[in-house]
């Protein structure tokens, strides 16, 4: 507070003598005029009626006028200035009920009020406001409020210009916040690459970034390396990126000639459509150039007719192939950089090459993450299927519907519990319970009666699948139901501009790992696991050892279905919950089981990794076409089965023989 008072006193002391010297022009209210006030007064007319073409020097002068300038410019941009109609003096105005409250334009001191009719509001257009905002940035860069500084940096990053270089560089030294300082330095580098005064400075700036992965760095480099294809009569001049030879791969003779045509250096070639149009407009007595119209279905006859018309001088001569070749041979073609300085383009090219190498490495890493997350989804979806198939040799076609059932359970739970975190925590065990019950019911009612008839079981479970799917449609409707993830799962873990993975997928990965561990513990450390393994290997031998295979079958089926329900909740968090949710994953789950081999959790894991990795890998080769990726993946699996008919990890011994 004291420093403010002191500053005010100093400015008063300085201003007083200046006012004495400054007699003109008469401004009755503002008695002191210096710095900003003087600049405002001098340019009052231009400020009141700004034009985008001419206002730039005025804004520059205002920007350098010293204290108060940022506030004044801001007020100007916010349309809070007014000009007094009688003498054109500028004020800050605030609209009130009966007129305007006036304030000094430079200091903001209160200057009373004025009637509505006395003041004309100043409303600069959008172009002028843009110029003002650009001038304001230099002040905002040193603004005490970090938010304003950040906003200014964002604005600069969007459309920085050469004149921002100096203020930005100046503001770095005084910057206290290390994060903002780093951002400023980066922005300074980027701006130097684009607008640096000397090529040396720009090259140094480019090299300063090294192989930086930021999109902004590449965005700054790319315009430097932009080329345009040009035509030369002698040796190519300018900053040549590449000399082109027509006929070589990547630059055909036709392309070369088209370039000549667009440059207006050669006549157009006669296309078949032009030929047809020319002939049609010269039909006389059912003939063109002496050739009867009915014969003109033959391309040779058409050429002859056109030649006849050409000889008669009725049509312009089209360029023949020989002429095209000659014209192309006479001319040189080259790609020319828009950037004239070769040292800059060389440095940019080297930097971009280094970056793209790193980018492809990072893309590989990103792809691996994607594949891992897809594999964990498939693993979760397939693990239940693999268990039931391993133990009972039963393919459960309704497995997909159990996944859907789990997702719908999650949806229903969210209808009752509004806190997403708690609702998910409730939904997971509840989904397990619901689908476990459904699985046990299905085993007791249907599958048990079809023992030793695997194909019929497959069909019966399919019948259940279509019935359940329609039932879901009847209950929940056909539109997608929301299953919202808790807030802490929103967003993504961003490593850099390329490698990122959403938290939901990480959670699913963790869930898959948990289930792998849980499954291993149950299988290797519990009585149930022992019995399940025994039944898997040989049901009748297990039965004679006192194990009840029916009970084991029932529990296994319930367990497999229960895991499907949990997978449903997990999948529902990122996919649309519809009655077809599970059906979308069922074929991939089958593939996972078939590829992995039955009766072994590691086989399922390997199968899921293979299927997921393969799908992502093929997608990466042809990113526009996910359908093709699935097609090729299935083809691959069909061929894979040729070499390992029992999957990656096959059971050995008598169990393998069914």
């Amino acid at each position: 507070m004291r420093s403010l008072l002191l500053a005010f006193a100093t400015s008063l002391a300085l201003a007083l003598p200046a006012a004495a010297q400054d007699a003109a022009p008469p401004v009755p209210v503002a008695t002191v005029q210096t710095g900003l006030a003087a600049v405002i007064a001098q340019n009052a007319g231009a400020i009141a009626k700004p034009s985008r073409q001419t206002i730039a020097p005025v804004i520059a002068a205002l920007g350098q006028a010293g204290a108060g300038a940022p506030d004044f410019l801001q007020a100007w941009a916010d349309k809070k200035l007014g000009a007094r109609k009688s003498d054109g003096a500028i004020f800050r105005v605030t609209k009130s009920a009966d007129g305007y409250a006036l304030a000094d334009p430079a200091t903001g001191a209160d200057l009373g009020t004025a009637a509505k009719a006395e003041i004309a509001e100043i409303k600069p257009n959008a172009g002028v406001r843009g110029l003002i905002a650009s001038a304001l940035i230099q002040f905002q860069l040193s603004d005490p409020d970090p938010k304003t500084r950040l906003a200014a940096l964002t604005a600069l990053a969007r459309d920085g210009a050469a004149e921002h270089l100096a203020p930005l560089a100046a503001s770095i030294e005084t910057e206290a916040d290390p994060a903002i300082k780093a951002q400023k330095e980066r922005l300074l580098g980027l701006l130097t690459i684009r607008f640096g005064a000397t090529p040396e400075a720009r090259v140094a700036a480019i090299e300063g970034f090294g192989a930086d992965l930021g999109l902004d760095f590449r965005a700054a480099l790319n315009p430097i390396l932009a080329t345009s294809r040009k035509v030369f009569n002698e040796a190519p001049s300018g900053n040549v990126a590449l000399t082109l030879t027509p006929g070589k791969p990547g630059f055909s003779e036709a392309e070369a000639y088209d370039l000549l045509v667009t440059e207006g250096l050669a006549p157009k070639r006669l296309s078949s459509a032009d030929l047809r149009a020319a002939l049609e407009s010269h039909i006389e007595n059912n003939a063109v150039g002496g050739v009867p119209v009915t014969e003109l279905a033959d391309p040779g006859k058409r050429e002859a007719a056109y030649a006849a018309l050409e000889a008669a001088g009725k049509v312009p001569a089209g360029a023949t192939d020989a002429e095209v070749s000659a014209a192309v041979a006479q001319t040189r073609f080259a790609d020319i950089y828009a950037e004239p300085d070769p040292t800059v383009t060389d440095a940019a090219k080297a930097a971009l090459d280094a970056v793209s190498l790193k980018v492809s490495a990072m893309q590989g890493a990103d792809l691996t993450l994607d594949a891992l997350s897809l594999a964990s989804i498939y693993f979760l979806a397939a693990i239940g299927l693999a268990i039931t198939f391993g133990v009972m040799r039963v393919i459960n076609m309704a497995h997909g519907e159990f996944i859907t059932m789990g997702a719908y359970t999650g949806y229903v739970v969210q209808q009752f519990i509004s806190d997403y975190t708690i609702s998910i925590l409730v939904a997971l065990p509840l989904a397990f319970a619901v689908t476990f019950a459904a699985g046990v019911a299905m085993e007791r009612l249907v599958i048990r009666h079809l023992a030793r008839r695997p194909l019929e079981t497959l069909l019966a479970t399919f019948g259940i699948s279509i019935a359940l799917q329609q039932l879901f449609k009847n209950i929940f409707g056909t539109q997608a139901r929301p299953l919202t993830a808790p807030e802490w799962l929103d967003g993504a873990w961003v490593l850099n501009d390329i490698v990122s993975i959403s938290y939901i997928r990480i959670a699913i990965f963790a869930l898959a790992l948990t289930f792998l561990g849980l499954f291993l513990v149950v299988m290797k450390r519990t009585r149930l696991g022992l019995e399940v393994r025994a039944v898997t290997q040989n049901p009748s031998m297990a039965a004679s050892m006192g194990i009840n295979p029916d009970r084991i079958n029932m529990l296994t089926f319930g367990l497999g279905s229960g895991i499907a329900g949990i997978a449903g909740v997990a999948i529902g968090l990122f996919a649309k919950v519809t009655s077809e949710l599970g059906a979308d994953y069922i074929v991939q789950s089958f593939m996972t089981v078939v590829v992995g081999g039955v009766g072994n959790i590691w086989g399922t894991l390997a199968g899921a990794s293979l299927v997921g990795g393969l799908q992502k890998g093929i997608e990466a080769l042809n990113p526009s076409n996910t359908l093709a990726a699935q097609t090729y993946m299935i083809l691959f699996i069909i061929i894979f089965i040729q070499f390992r008919p029992r999957g990656i990890i096959a059971l050995k011994g008598r169990a393998a023989g069914d």
Binding site: T294, L459, G463, Q470, N474, F590, I634, I638, I641
Partner: protein
């Protein structure tokens, strides 16, 4: 030989007689040749149903008699449809292009370009893909109707049977095959118009003068003829020694192999033969349906095929035909919204919504309680009662009780 074959299989004559009677009745009730009781669209539905019966025959042969639960036969059906559809589309478009041409007569190149633009405008190209090379010629495309699905079945079957993929593995693999094909066809650059499919197939080029009324009856005749011939072929295949080996493979593949029979050869032959029958059925089906798109090939269609055969009664050719006809007609009736709502006190059952549930559950009950399906009803009338063996083989290790059952 023929005499012996027919006396051994009296059901063939009965079936052919009933089929002829059915065709004659429909013809006499049709708009074109009779008393105009059955509408043209109904005639088409009946014709399509005959085609579905034909593919159900194929399914019964490969599943009921051979024990290969193929969940991919609709891929062959669809491919047959696509092959004939290509010719229909090109020939039809050529007529349209020529009719609307003005000015100079077109060069062959221009004609091709115009046809390609017409056909492929919807997928954003005007290039005729290479697979359409023979689409201009009817004999070539008719040959492709059997060649393409036949070769696919041969290649796939050879790969699958050679590595002894059996049981549910094979079912899943055939399902994967049809899914791969459907996904491939869904792409716009597959050359078969992506998910637009081929359309306008009901207009037969050069037969505009006949009108849909007569065309529908002709197609009914063709479908009935194909079904009759297909039934004869299937009945011939399953009777005699070949049929015995087929059933033996179904019941115990390993024993047949140990007896010295080339099991893989038998399987491959039957798989390919049924694929051909399916393709012919498809080639007759889609000109009546008018449109074909990749959704027709989706795995679910092939599973429904298995449902028809199971409900009709597998292991009997006429059972499969009855199943396909019955389920597809009833399904049309229920989903068409013509079935009256069932008004329970608390809830009105709208069959459009609940038909699938009913179908699924009745399918489960058929599998559980009536493994012979509808054809079991005929057995019931004839007083035949099968022993309850729950799928267990009739072998030595389960004791003499089974032998006693079998004698009953």
């Amino acid at each position: 030989m023929t005499h012996g074959f027919l006396t051994k299989n009296p059901s063939v004559l009965i079936f052919l007689g009933l089929l002829a009677l059915f065709t004659l009745t429909v013809t006499l009730l049709s708009n074109a040749y009779g008393v105009e009781v059955i509408s043209t669209s109904m005639v088409k539905t009946l014709g399509k149903t005959l085609c579905l019966c034909l593919i159900a025959l194929a399914m019964d042969l490969v599943w009921g008699y051979m024990g290969i639960l193929s969940l991919g036969h609709f891929a062959f059906f669809g491919l047959g449809g696509y092959m004939i559809g290509m010719w229909l589309m090109v020939a039809r478009t050529r007529e349209i292009v020529l009719a609307s041409a003005t000015g100079l007569p077109m060069t062959p190149q221009e004609l091709n370009d115009a046809i390609a633009t017409q056909i492929f405008g919807v997928v954003g190209t005007s290039q005729m893909p290479a697979i359409w090379a023979f689409a201009g010629s009817l004999p070539a495309q008719l040959a492709l109707v059997v060649l393409v699905p036949g070769l696919l079945a041969l290649g796939f079957g050879w790969l699958a049977f050679r590595s002894r993929v059996t049981g549910v593995y094979l079912s899943i693999l055939t399902q994967a095959m049809t899914l791969a094909l459907a996904l491939y066809l869904y792409q716009n650059d597959s050359g078969l118009r992506g998910n637009n499919g081929l359309s306008g197939l009901q207009n037969i080029p050069g037969l505009d003068w006949a009108g849909q009324d007569r065309l529908s009856v002709w197609f009914l005749w063709a479908s009935a003829l194909a079904l009759g011939l297909g039934y004869l072929a299937c009945a011939f295949t399953v009777s005699g020694k070949f049929g015995s080996v087929m059933r033996a493979i179904r019941d115990d593949e390993a024993r047949v192999r140990f007896l010295g029979y080339p099991v893989e050869g038998y399987k491959l032959f039957v798989f390919t033969l049924t694929a051909l029958i399916a393709a012919i059925a498809g080639a007759l089906y889609y000109p009546q349906a008018g449109i074909i798109n990749p959704a027709e090939i989706a795995p679910i269609a092939s599973i429904y095929l298995a449902v028809w055969v199971a409900i009709g009664g597998r292991g009997r050719l006429w059972g499969a035909v009855i199943g396909a006809a019955f389920v597809s007609m009833v399904s049309t009736w229920f989903t068409g919204g013509r079935a009256p709502d069932l008004n329970l006190a608390i809830y009105t059952v709208k069959w459009v919504d609940w038909w699938q549930v009913l179908l699924g559950l009745s399918f489960v009950s058929v599998t559980l309680f009536a493994p012979k399906g509808l054809s079991g009803l005929v057995d019931l009338l004839a007083g035949l009662r099968p022993p309850q063996r729950r799928g267990a083989p009739l072998g030595p290790d389960d004791g003499a009780l089974m032998e006693q059952e079998a004698r009953q």
